[in-house]
Amino acid sequence: MSLLSPIICDNGTGYSKVGFAGNSDPSFVFPTAIATRGPASQPSRSGPAVPSKPGHLASKRGVEDLDFFIGDEALANAKTPGYGVSYPIRHGQIDNWDYMERYWEQTIFKYLRAEPEDHYFLLVRDQHCSTGLPDNLSVQTEPPLNPPENREQTAEIFFESFNIQGLYIAVQAVLALAASWSSNRVVDRTLTGTVIDSGDGVTHVIPCAEGYVIGSSIKHIPIAGRDLSQFVLNLMRERGEMVNVPPEDQLKIAGKVKENYTYVCQDIVKEFRKYDAEPYKYFERYDGEHSVTGRKYSVDVGYERFLAPEIFFNPEIYSSDFLTPLPEIVDGVIQGSPIDVRRGLYKNIVLSGGSTMFQHFGQRLKRDLKQIVDRRLEASAVSSGSVQKSSGVDVDVISHKRQRYAVWFGGSLLASLPEFYSSCHTKAQYDEVGPSIVRRYQIFGTAT
């Protein structure tokens, strides 16, 4: 039998992306939520339900093991009496293994309709704790994130409950780098680069050298999609646009405006002037309808079109706690990495995640970063008395079409390479070594 395509599973805190290797988009994107019988608030006070009396009669058996919903169906059933919704992943870490195991069950059998025994799997894990060093030696800036035991438990579930053929646990940042190979501007397939991953909750800047994450210089920025929506909402409220909009829809509309109308400008002052000179040309109109009463309303979309993504570059317009612009953070991250990889990191800055999809985002980042770098080079030339002059540093930011699900797409790309099967941990190896096999991590797919 020809091998069936591997399954790619990216279980995030908010959404899970699952599908088959070789495709350009995940087959399913649904919330990582599960609705089970019983209240969600106290999941294991008394443990899972136990049949009242153990006996041999089939009549005593219930269907507790099958009675649950996942994804959108879970949220739809949230109000059904008797069911409670819970989110098995918190802060990128699996919180409740019972729920997670069931979640995978239904993902595989109900949605993907695959027999796990026939497939290889590629799972995505958080970037932390993935330096080339053995895990207990790795340097971490973060508190204990995703210890290797979690990976072992995952392997246990996949190999022992599902009897899968092979497993590869990949690192988010590396997959995002691999996804950028699809861009026509990338000439060599390298796994060295800086990944800027911005989703809904938090933005990460992750340097990656030849497939290994430099854990000590990862930086996190508390500005991401949710903050952008909030900022758009604030601006529109201040201008009085939101008076016609029902309060429960306001945040949703701010989100829509953010997704459909915003872009990154090169110069705010010019942009303001442009808008003031010809407001009818640049102002957009958003029409909505009240979900309950059906009353129509419309709002004007103005300066927030370019101001919203601006909070990455000038965070002071939004928050007073966090003031470092994104280009400076990126520069800091690269400067904090070993000196011999810095050139590679500057040359290959890759965007990933929904909040990096703004038009011209890459160009602006590239320009600002280039300025910082050039200024530093000039300063060092001056301080050396103009004796030594640098040949310059290449800065390049790569945007591509698949940014939104870049991590998943990278997985799909890697898993369709022929080397994938030899890099996987197979069932036989697992049976030989045990769960600790997943502590080993093998890079593949680079051109070198």
């Binding site: 395509s5 988009d25 399913f28 089939a58 269907v63 093991d65 649950f68 309709r113």
Partner: protein, 306 residues
């Protein structure tokens, strides 16, 4: 969700999405039992080509799969399937039924492609049974469908019943034990008064049932089992009941495996809970650290324990 549904979710959701917003597409995905699908738009955005590869296609054609598909999908079926695939459908989004229930049903029927292809031998057996019933005696031909590498479905019609036999192989020791318990339970469950009308189920381990004992090439090993369903005319006289019976029987193996996996997970969650409880007990049992009183020598110097 308690039962697995017979239709393919990916086909259903993708088609529904493309109806509202046609765009170019090229995806490959699978279904149970090694079925591969390819959904693409080779010519224009509004014409979707859905191809299916199923490993027992030759056997299915022999038992009339072409006719069944022709009946279900009519002009959608392509005379020449896409290379590497067994059957292709072309779905033209422009000529498809209008939005609403009609379209939902259309999408659903396409999502049932695999089920319909596999239904052919069952339908054949049901009609055969009708013939034999009027004749009063006799037995139909034994049809074998090798739908997986090591497993097969055998169907035989007789004048008063249709017998369906599944051979099941468990690759994993634990699964085998679970499977055995499950299948025996299955046999027992029928004694319940509420499901008296369910088909009779028999389970044998290792030894093939008499109906198929003469078939050459049966494996004789510990990990193989045979499940026999005996379907009586009441299970397929009425067309809707017959359709339901076929959908359920086709999914039997996948459902069995799904259920085994679910109960493993259930047991593991019980075990995790138990371990957590024991840990609590152990933590309570820790002796309190002896409070160290400072000890001094006569001269007034403190003693340090190293």
């Amino acid at each position: 969700m308690i039962l697995l549904e017979p239709h393919n979710y990916i086909i259903q959701t993708t088609l529904a999405e493309k109806f509202t917003k046609p765009s170019s597409l090229d995806v490959q995905f699978v279904d149970f039992d090694g079925v591969r699908f390819h959904l693409s738009t080779p010519e224009r955005k509004s014409a979707l080509l859905l191809s299916m590869h199923i490993r027992c296609w030759d056997e299915l054609v022999r038992y009339g799969a072409q006719e069944v598909l022709q009946r279900e999908y009519g002009p959608l079926v392509q005379a020449q399937p896409e290379p590497e695939y067994n059957v292709s459908l072309v779905i033209d989004l422009d000529t498809a039924p209008p939005e609403g229930e009609e379209r939902d049903n259309f999408v659903k029927s396409i999502a049932l492609l695999k089920r319909n292809a596999l239904a052919a031998p069952f339908e054949l057996a049901f009609t055969k049974q009708k013939e034999l019933e009027s004749a009063g005696d006799g037995q139909g031909e034994l049809t074998a469908i090798h739908y997986r590498d090591e497993e097969a479905i055998y169907i035989r019609a007789a004048h008063d019943r249709v017998t369906v036999i599944f051979s099941t192989v468990f690759r994993e020791e634990t699964d085998r034990i679970f499977g055995k318990v499950f299948l025996q339970e299955f046999v027992d469950a029928r004694r319940l008064p509420t499901i008296q009308n369910a088909p009779q189920v028999l389970y044998t381990n290792r030894d093939p049932p008499l109906e198929i004992r003469h078939v050459p090439g049966l494996r004789d090993s510990e990990d193989i089992g045979y499940v026999t369903f005996v379907l009586f005319p009441r299970h397929f006289n009425n067309p809707t009941v017959a359709a339901g019976t076929i959908s359920h029987i086709e999914l039997f193996r996948d459902y069995l495996h799904y259920h085994i996996k679910c109960s493993k997970a259930y047991m593991q969650s019980r075990m995790r809970h138990r371990v957590a409880e024991f840990q609590k007990v152990l933590n309570r049992a820790k002796t309190e650290a002896a409070t160290s009183t400072e000890r001094k020598t006569v001269t007034g110097r403190t003693l340090h324990t190293r």
